[in-house]
Symmetry: C2
Subunit: 448 residues, 2 copies
């Protein structure tokens, strides 16, 4: 079925003329119609507009004009990324019908790559912690995670091969883990955030979803660019993730397993799954103690996030307080009450964490950890969209993170293995991740 194609396969098939972009988009739209009543991944989907884009991209191919790396391939967009031709509503009724004038830079890069912007996926309110309507494609009684709920669920449900999300705490890695797909948050500053809802200047980053590691690399390579309008963007060459993905490690990579206090939060089945992975990797995994500062990082992350989001949402707080969920009201209040001094102190920890990890990755190719405490929580439970704690330290330090869907829990729901790489070592992280997947596959075959 077309909708099951990976992005790489789809792009190749469209390039060679085996299928058209219209075929693929129709198949995706049908798949959405068949399954989205339960999953509710989409907040804005205009079939006519999507097919018109596909038609135009097919016409480009017929004319012999240049094709992009994602030519004709549909991508889903979290509803906090501005699109000039679709509303961008930020997951809140306060911004119902909000229509941006311009595309964000991510959309510019996608159009330049020949992608079809299929539609906007459900985000939690302001990409924060209040759960959205979307359910987990593996079991609708469970949460898909958040805040990139719709993007992760749509890719997992086979609605389309690729989607864009974001991560301020664990908003990409956690939903990827819960939905059983690949998720990636690149090094801080690789992808421009111009035209994306700002909730934290320091912590917000773009994240991406796919069903294969190769697709993640393919998509990631189209998005990176230097943009002076984004204060975190940097004027240096970007990664070539596909090159990293295809490269062989020169020697067997080595891994750090950090004994962090947060590991106490891991479920039984997550522990078991991680233990299995560690067994396969054997001596390549070194167990090391967590630096004491890790606990402080988690606190500093909270201070920065709350302080910044409360200021980013000043207009909404001032004029639409009653329309804000009770889930995030206390956090916004806490952010407003955070002093400049507390904020500045927390900011100093960012540089500290960056420095710490610069040295750290001289000795390791990747940190091996869990992408989430365990399987997806129940919809409507106290856990909401789940605990982002397993992403907070890496997001804070600006490191590239991957979630690999290689574990299954007691409830039969997927769980992600997280690999964390060095800053600007995104290529190497993909190389290492592919190697890990190969080892796990080899091991599974031997077990059979």
């Amino acid at each position: 079925m077309h909708f099951e194609l990976s992005a790489a396969q789809a792009a190749e098939n469209i390039r060679s003329g085996l299928i058209s972009s219209v075929d693929l988009v129709k198949a995706c739209l049908q798949r959405i119609e068949d399954t989205d009543a339960d999953i509710m991944a989409w907040v804005n989907l205009d079939a006519e507009q999507a097919l018109a884009q596909a038609e135009a991209l097919d016409e480009i191919r017929r004319k012999g004009l240049p094709l992009g790396p994602l030519h004709g391939v549909p991508v889903g967009i979290k509803d906090i990324f501005d699109t000039c031709d679709m509303p961008t509503q930020l997951g809140t009724k306060i911004h119902e019908g909000r229509q941006p004038e311009l595309d964000c830079v991510v959309i510019e890069r996608l159009r330049e790559a020949g992608a079809v912007i299929l539609g906007k996926t459900v985000t939690t309110e302001f990409a924060y912690s209040h759960p959205a309507v979307t359910t987990n494609p593996h079991n609708p009684a469970h949460s898909p995670g958040g805040s990139s709920s719709g993007s992760a669920a749509a890719v997992a449900a086979g609605h389309l091969p690729l989607a864009i999300g974001s991560q301020t705490g664990g908003s990409t890695i956690r939903p990827a883990s819960y939905c059983g797909i690949f998720g990636f948050k690149p090094t801080r500053g690789v992808i421009s955030r111009r035209g994306v809802l700002e909730t934290s200047r320091v912590l917000d980053q773009v994240g991406i979803f796919a069903r294969t590691l190769e697709d993640l690399a393919l998509l990631g390579d189209t998005l990176g660019s230097y943009d002076q309008a984004d204060s975190m963007s940097y004027a240096r060459p970007r990664q070539q993730l596909l090159e990293g993905y295809k490269a062989e490690p020169p020697v067997e990579p080595n891994f750090a397993w950090i004994e962090m206090p947060i590991n106490d939060l891991l479920s039984e089945s997550a522990r078991a799954g991680l233990a299995e992975v560690r067994e396969v990797l054997g001596d390549l995994v070194e167990v090391i103690p967590a630096p004491k500062s890790f606990v402080k990082v988690i606190e500093c992350h909270k201070v920065i996030h709350e302080y910044e989001i409360a200021r980013c949402l000043k207009a909404e707080i001032d004029d639409y307080w009653d329309d804000i969920s009770d889930t995030i009201k206390p956090k916004l209040a806490s952010g407003l009450a955070t002093t400049e001094a507390q904020y500045h102190e927390a900011l100093t920890m960012v540089g500290g964490a960056e420095n710490y990890f610069e040295e750290f990755f001289n000795d390791y190719d990747a940190v091996l950890t869990s992408a989430a405490p365990g399987e997806a929580p129940l919809m409507g439970s106290e856990s909401g969209t789940g605990n982002p704690i397993f992403s907070v330290i890496w997001t804070f330090a600006g490191l590239p993170c991957l979630s690999l869907p290689v574990m299954t829990g007691d409830l039969g729901l997927p769980m992600g293995l997280q690999l964390v790489g060095s800053a600007e070592g995104d290529d190497r992280l993909f190389r290492t991740a592919r190697w890990v997947l190969q080892q796990l596959e080899k091991n599974a075959e031997e077990d059979e």
Copy 2:
């Protein structure tokens, strides 16, 4: 000598560690010191700043961070492209010391590609027709052409392998021809003009210079991007010029030689050179009559250019009229006197020309023509920086144009063969151009 390396060789040598970017930049600075007293290609060159960039790029390599396609390779920038760390003075004392806050998009793309921004090259006043100080590296008594005088001269003199210019009439193709190097103006809208002096919204385009066709492709591939802030930029995939350069034509390409009235302006030696090329290509060249509308296109180009530049320079005209050269005053006055109706009528011809050539290139791979009427005029002659007339029609129609340094005139000065391709057929144009170069080489060998 390092300064003689092509950009592709230099990038490869830096990547492999054979030379450092600092080595290369030092060699280029030395070459400039040795030769620029006569040539005067540079308006702003800060050796310290250039070496600091090279040092930082070498450090990136030492650290194993990602390298860009132009990693460590110096590029010269026409002084109408905004740079956040060097003045951008637009070739006029009116803007002496003008320091932009932000880089233009072209500079963003270059920094992302790992290039060293070596300095700013001399432009004619407002990139228009008043000659600048720069001389022709082949003979200082002659003009290097304009308006991208310094960029063309610097590349031709071996100051560095790559430079950025612009073209509104023939400001890239003509100086490339006079200076004996490769010049390229891509399809309208491929490269963003945000942060570049605007002289004509419709006609201005970015152009590039190199000493090899491959280098031109390498540089061109780093610059293309979709940018909503540029009204001519388009949301479709960009060319892959290097792919085009490396590709074999599936069949022998065919060429149109158009019998244009402007051909009467060709010098004897240009005629002879072009006749030789046509002989080598033989039956592949079809001679066709010029459509009558070509004469009108040249008039419409003038109307649009004068009308628009007079409005772009409104502040300078109002407040600094006495500081404007006598060369361009009459043109600005003519632009101010152009009526809206004349302007709008001329604008309608743009679409007409685009449509005409869309059909035209179903039958031909490229138009074969001259890049200029002949060799470079004398400095200080009435011809100024030379006649751009051989570029006007293609610039007007938004077509990709290449100047290939394959002819020599009676004075011993170089002359360019111009190839013009279909809109968005930049890849194919590079493929065709390489094939032409091979045929000419083969022929030269047989003659020996």
